[in-house]
Symmetry: C2
Subunit: 211 residues, 2 copies
């Protein structure tokens, strides 16, 4: 994120803004979102550019021959309102225990919970992006759901290579913990590891807006 | 979906459009999306209303005592561009094999494929919305990924009650087929079935737009 203050002159601010977006693009930054806040009393407007550095979107995998039993990796994400809505829209599961605070308050959970398979999606992202990373082919996944995941929880997927099998097959422990270090999902993946090391450019998504 | 043709007069078209949205709302239809296509040569504009019938947003579950071994249910969804982008945004897995047609063409898959766990999300939605439905608590899920799922494939999750265990636990076969009736994901869920029958109002999501 980059914050810049401009004089409170709409015409000149607009021109400078365009110049800045172009300058950022030229240095490999893709502007994902712009937020403008004006403070005309002090003749200042702050412009927040949420940028994605194109250099940060490359991922290098770990091929089969470089994987070692005991090797670990982790992948964290905080469960936001937006994530639960995206999961609901994508899967079609609009159950109010995930989406409606008033309804959820009357359930045994007392508050909104994430869809159980949201943790599954994070496990798959951890395997596909962290260890072994791009080029991995999913063979199987087993999951045991131990505790509910609440809105605002920060989940960490911890991966550990358990066994290297013939024909590039690998067993990986896939455990998900919350911010209190409680195990919320236990499980195991079986994958086909990549045969060769490769570096891929992760794709930048179009901006998604709600409402 | 409802398609209506209007005269190509922006002023009158806009007024008629508002009247129509109000009329649809009065009959219990929530307008989710409007697409307008104008054909001024023939003085016609077609307006596509994507509606959700509010009567379709209630779901009644099947409680433990009413479940029978052999009972089945199914849940279908076509994998659209939008679904793959939603999954990528929600999970953080931006691998180009899912999102970049040019990159995917050079892989063993020859074209873009859905994230493997997208099928997992559909399985969880089938269990949570169809059988047993709302109030179900996920205990575990095992999946074996057998074939890739391509953009445009229509997936059908077929559920079958396998076993009723003590303390409301139930084993369910969770198999996912594509439009050619090929088994793409085999697996099994273990759940806590709802104790009581209930009917819930599924939550309507805010509209999600891309780009």
């Amino acid at each position: 994120m980059l914050i810049i203050c401009l004089e409170c002159d709409p015409g000149s601010a607009s021109k400078r803004l365009n110049d800045l977006v172009r300058a950022l693009a030229a240095t490999g930054h893709q502007v994902l979102q712009i937020e403008a806040r004006s403070d005309c009393t002090n003749r200042r407007a702050s412009i927040h550019f949420y940028c994605q550095d194109s250099h940060m979107t490359q991922v290098t995998n770990t091929p089969y021959e470089a994987l070692e039993v005991g090797q670990t990796a982790s992948y964290s994400k905080t469960v936001e309102e937006r994530d639960i809505q995206l999961f609901a829209a994508m899967s079609g599961d609009h159950n109010p225990v995930h989406l409606d605070a008033e309804y959820a308050a009357k359930t045994m959970f007392k508050e909104r919970i994430a869809h159980g398979m949201f943790s599954g999606a994070l496990i798959s992202a951890a395997v596909a992006c962290e260890l072994p990373g791009p080029g991995t082919i999913y063979i199987g996944q087993q999951m045991t759901f131990l505790k509910p995941v609440k809105l605002g929880d920060t989940l960490t997927v911890r991966l550990e290579i358990l066994e290297k099998l013939p024909k590039f097959r690998v067993r990986i422990a896939t455990r998900v913990f919350n911010q209190n270090d409680e195990l919320v999902v236990d499980g195991e993946a079986e994958i086909l590891a990549p045969r060769k090391q490769q570096t891929v450019d992760l794709t930048v998504l179009p901006e998604i807006t709600f409402g």
